[in-house]
Amino acid sequence: MQVSSARTIGKERTGEWIGRLIENAEVVAPTAAQAGDVIFRKISSPVEVQWGSDNPLFPPKQVVLPQTDPLVTISRGADGLVVEPVYDERPRVLFGVHSCDVKGIDFLTRMHAYDLADTAYLRRAAALTSVSVACITPCPLGFCICCDAGPFLAESFDVQLTDLGDRFLAEVGSEKGGRLVEPSADLFRTAEAGEVARRHELEEAAKRAFGPETCHFASAMRRVSVGRVSAELWDEIAGTCLECGACNFVCPTCYCFSVKDQGRDGHWVRCRTWDSCQFRAFTREASGHNPREAHRERVKRRFFHKVSAQYFRRDGAVGCVGCGRCVKVCLGTSDMPAVVAAIRKGAWHG
């Protein structure tokens, strides 16, 4: 991927830029919500963007993989059932997203292109362009640095902004990204050498600023991959997991799903819905048999998929972008850093 030369845009002009993006696409950005939360949603005005907010708890994964995702419509026609695929190819811009979430969507797109290509997903993803903001300050629970998913991105991004105080440095990382910047070239100017140098200083400072919340994937991977984690340890971890599924739902790289028809009386919409590998019924077979009846087997499966060498080789990354959301949403105490630490140390302190 050719990274074009960097430009800058004054902060006072970003509103105009976003306004132009809204004219041509559905723009999704972090916005303020009722209870003081920040959530991603479609904006109709640049003023709605919550700049500099902490990474929203709920990831923008829903933009490419909605919680309820219509795949086909089925209706009764004169000659039997008529099945029509549903494609959502609306041009979308995901604005103000953090680095880890860009990596998450990149991971999901690889998974949906792998083996049997998932057209519904891929068409939606192809119409999406991201404008990410590099993280100058790591979030308190983030460990993206351990997953090669931040705080700054060297690849996978469309447009990456770096906050330089009164302006942003904008790097274009893809053709799609270029198509967001080129038509608004009048709002940007070519970056000076000092501005590019400043961006690299900020990246180095951000990397140094990571706190204790890190994940030692390498040693955990060795143990998980060769089955050197005892059943007792998985049992202990499972004992503090309340099977809420939240770690799956907020994980930028999880894509477990179920399929169900919505509607009745001659018209149905077949929907893909989010699911969780932690739910007992997720792995139950049609016969009623459940190969992962024991809770520890489901917990083990999740972390095997996330951090084993087998999946690392296939996916080219651990199934984690270090966003730290699972730490916040875990109803119990079995979040990613805690479990990885337990696997590494062979002891659970949850």
Partner: protein, 636 residues
């Protein structure tokens, strides 16, 4: 449509999230990080709560039974038929009643109470689950003078000791279970009391086994142990005076085990310590005494109303506390005002325009048996009542069954008039959490078809039966509730929580608890085995679970594998009987006998047989409508 902040409809923890919709249907849940209860943490039910409103079999138009079949009619016709049939039944001198529900909002429950005690002039208004909760509140009232515990779920996280009278909170109240798991990680000592092992007992520092239905034997002993161990709250004891000596004497016969003594010691010595009572299967008198014991324990050790020392009674379902509090309870007017309270009577007359009926009402089981006409607000008594089959028979005998619901439930087959109402996702109003805070429910989408909000339908019924009543929104009903309540409780209803408001502990306004003698603990007669419902009401029959493609799977699979039901036995019992997984066993009790397949449950004590609530009707000959009974088990 923009995501809308609302309160979870399932259990009473009171978690908050945004409901997100597409094309007029709920399509997803976004957790609220700033919410004071859930902080972005939701359980599987919360995460799946958007599904049932969109996928469920929804009631979309008013229906009336004609020639044995339900047929669509206009709202006008349905409301008129509902009012006329209720009035005719009452005029014929027959009993009529109203069932509120833990699945309905406070506004809907309150209007159900006003409909009964006001417009229909009947004292029979209650919810199907009132009997599982009200006796515990009465037990607290005996000691503390108020029908409420204190503290919040969040307090649990900072406790040094938690005494949990366990059912299975990891399943029934996951947010409470989560707080306990996190507290334990921070070093808290968890003490569980229960007959059946659960995820929480596996985490306990001390797990005290009890006989099913007789958990009170342990709580009684805990009070005795605490008093024997010293470290009591001097001010409370001095204030109690001679009553404290009477309390001490009443405990003379208590049998205190080493484990109980240790638990009582931990509790008394801790600076911040909690008592949590999960929904229990026991009779009303036993529940009342158990709550009295625990309130006495908290008061004598100085934990009652202490900051950071919560005493939480967990209602079994979403808005059960709210339903009881607004008056869906046989012995109270709204706000737990006694029926004999003349002030409350005239206050309600001022608000309602008619004097309230102030006789004692029947409980739900008695009412269904006695009544010939009933209004059911968002409930399926056949699924929720302990004796489901009897409820079905009782409804079949009735002359009029006016059913308000958002979903098609098995109760539909027994209804004479069906009034379709909004589900939680389409409704405005409030619900009361287990901590007593009143929280907002907000509509994220419009009700389907001709369905209307439940409060509006009940208001329309009121208008037909009594003085003209008009509300311009659920908000106005809530303001009326505040006026109908005794002033101290009404205040809580005036200022509804905004999400960021941290709930306050309920205070006793400087009143001292009244310590006194506790009722003796009756001896537990030895029995070969004790059969008990699993203590977790059947979530599988709740329409919000049944119609959710994700949430229904476990219960659906259970029903598919064992259509006629099953019972759970310990490994020891199965070995002794020589039966394997799925083999039939015969259960015999004083009431009768039944045969069911046996399923092994590793963590069960020998001598305990668990009967899943969902299959209670299949085992009805043995259980006879009771939650606990002595049985003999043999190979069939």
């Amino acid at each position: 449509m923009d995501p809308v902040l609302t309160t979870c409809p399932f259990c009473p923890c009171g978690c908050g999230f945004y409901l997100h919709s597409q094309d007029g249907k709920t399509a997803g849940v976004i957790p609220s990080e700033g919410h004071p209860v859930s902080h972005g943490r939701l359980c599987a039910r919360g995460w799946g709560s958007h599904e049932a409103p969109a996928w469920g079999d929804r009631l979309t138009e008013p229906l009336m039974r004609h020639d044995g079949r339900l047929r669509p009619v206009s709202w006008e016709t349905a409301l008129e038929a509902a009012a006329d049939s209720l009035v005719a039944t009452r005029r014929a001198g027959r009993t009529i009643g109203v069932l509120g529900s833990a699945r309905a909002t406070n506004e809907e429950n309150y209007l159900a109470v006003r409909l009964a005690r006001g417009a229909l002039q009947t004292p029979h208004v209650v919810s199907c689950l009132t009997a599982t909760y009200q006796p515990l509140l009465d037990g607290l009232h005996d000691v503390t003078g108020r029908h409420a515990g204190s503290g919040t779920v969040a307090d649990l996280e900072h406790c040094e000791v938690i005494i949990l009278v366990e059912g299975d909170v990891a399943v029934t109240h996951p947010q409470v279970a989560g707080a306990i798991v996190r507290a334990r990680k921070a070093g808290c000592r968890l003490v569980t009391i229960g007959a059946v092992a659960s995820q929480m007992t596996s985490l306990a520092a001390l797990s005290i086994a009890s006989t099913p239905g007789r958990e009170r034997a342990v709580t009684f002993a805990l009070v005795a142990a605490a008093l024997a161990g010293g470290r009591l709250d001097t001010a409370t004891i001095v204030a109690a005076g001679a009553s404290f000596d009477a309390l001490r004497r009443s405990l003379a016969e208590a049998e205190v085990s080493e484990a109980v003594a240790r638990a009582a010691g931990w509790y008394a010595q801790a600076q911040r310590a909690a008592i949590v009572v999960a929904p229990l299967v026991a009779d009303a008198a036993e529940l009342r005494r158990l709550a009295g014991d625990l309130a006495t324990l908290a008061a004598a050790t100085g934990h009652l109303d202490r900051d950071g020392s919560p005493l939480l009674i967990l209602p079994a379902r979403g808005n059960l506390r709210g339903a009881c509090e607004v008056g869906a309870s046989p012995n109270f007017l709204p706000g737990f005002a006694p029926l004999s309270d003349d002030g409350a009577g005239s206050r309600l007359e001022g608000v309602w325009g008619v004097p309230p009926v102030r006789e004692t009402g029947l409980d739900a089981a008695q009412m269904l048996t006695a009544a010939r006409g009933v209004v059911i607000v968002a409930e399926d008594p056949t699924a929720v009542m302990p004796a489901g089959a009897l409820a079905r028979e009782a409804l079949r005998r009735m002359e009029c069954v006016v059913l308000l619901d958002a979903f098609a439930t098995p109760a539909l087959e027994l209804a004479t008039v069906v009034l379709p109402i909004a589900s939680f996702a389409e409704n405005d109003g409030t619900v009361t959490g287990l901590d007593g805070r009143v929280r907002q429910v907000r509509a994220a989408v419009r009700p389907p078809g001709k369905a209307r909000p439940g409060w509006a339908v009940l208001a329309a019924m009121l208008g037909r039966l009594g003085p003209a009543t008009e509300y311009h929104g659920a908000e106005e009903v809530r303001r009326e509730i505040a006026r109908a309540m005794p002033p101290d409780i009404g205040a809580r209803w005036r200022e509804v929580d905004e999400a960021r408001v941290v709930p306050r502990a309920e205070r006793n306004g400087g009143r001292r608890p009244s310590l006194g003698p506790l009722a003796p603990c009756e001896p537990i007669e030895p029995a070969p085995s004790v059969a008990v419902w699993d203590g977790v009401l059947d979530w599988g029959s709740d329409p919000l679970v049944r119609y959710s493609p994700t949430l229904c799977r476990d219960s659906a699979a259970q029903r598919k594998l064992f259509p006629g039901g099953f019972v759970e036995l310990s490994k020891e019992a199965m070995d002794r009987l020589g039966v394997r997984q799925g083999w039939p066993v015969r259960l015999k009790s004083a009431g009768g006998e039944a045969v069911a397949p046996a399923v092994m449950r590793a963590d069960l004590a020998a001598g305990v047989v668990v009967v899943p609530f969902a299959f209670r009707d299949a085992l009805a000959p043995v259980m006879g409508g009771h939650g606990v009974t002595s049985v003999a088990v043999e190979r069939a």
